[in-house]
Symmetry: C2
Subunit: 156 residues, 2 copies
């Protein structure tokens, strides 16, 4: 693929995509959020080839989205757990899932039923809100020129 790397990109979205923007990484993070921690469990749930899973887990650990902890009682037994950085992807994952549920509902699938552990109430859609909690659309916001992605040198 000779893919363009975004590591040095001037845009944080590009850099974020560099870490979790491939086909598997975000799904791994998703399953980690659902509680999956072990290699074999990821493999079975995702139906991913072992080497790819290996690669992705290593990369996520490198990027500090996951941490690899040795929980071996006797020898080595590893678990992959979300770091704070990884857990911070929660709004992204939920927003993406809600978007998918809304625009590409599977006929035979129950849409995400995420609930508040404290109250049992379903979680409303993730929104961009202003300081007062009022939901905003793309059109309700603006970006000062200096903060635009393609601003001056180095686009992407």
């Amino acid at each position: 693929m000779a893919r363009k790397r975004f590591d040095d990109s001037n845009c944080s979205v590009a850099r974020a995509l560099n870490e979790v923007g491939d086909w598997w990484s975000l799904l791994i993070v998703l399953h980690a959020m659902y509680g999956t921690r072990r290699f074999v469990d990821f493999q079975q749930e995702l139906g991913i080839a072992k080497n790819i899973l290996c690669d992705r887990l290593a990369r996520l650990v490198d990027n500090q989205v996951l941490s690899k902890v040795d929980v071996g009682e006797h020898g080595s037994r590893f678990e992959y757990r979300l770091t704070e950085k990884g857990r911070d992807l929660f709004p992204v994952v939920v927003a993406l899932r809600q978007w998918g549920d809304k625009w590409n509902p599977a006929p035979d699938e129950v849409p995400l039923d995420l609930r508040d552990r404290a109250t049992g109430q379903p979680i409303p859609p993730v929104e961009v809100q202003n300081a007062d909690g009022k939901p905003l659309s793309v059109r309700d916001v603006f970006v000062p020129e200096a903060s635009r992605p393609g601003h001056k040198k180095n686009s992407a």
Copy 2:
């Protein structure tokens, strides 16, 4: 790549990633949200090869994230505009950008300064909230068993 397709996946995140989960698509959507509409502008801002841009735009149009409108005064001149479905990715993009700004800040880059058009106030971080507007972390929520991604047949 012989990539596994997720079209028929039981998981809406997987299906969403199938539409905007590649390296370029979400960046294209991002730039579209910033106002970019024309082929050449996307190309210059993103530094993407023309055939790839061609392919991605077509795919986004196919998936109804963008619409291709002929704005030619005399001949053909096209613009790619966000559809409602595309605009609905706003929370995803903003959340991702905020995540990137928080965890991978570029030394020389201004973090996203998104502001409410009405008030001029900066936009606070996108959160998952409960019905009362209280922010929730991964640990504050649960998913009824039937709604889990790896539930029964068909994982991913």
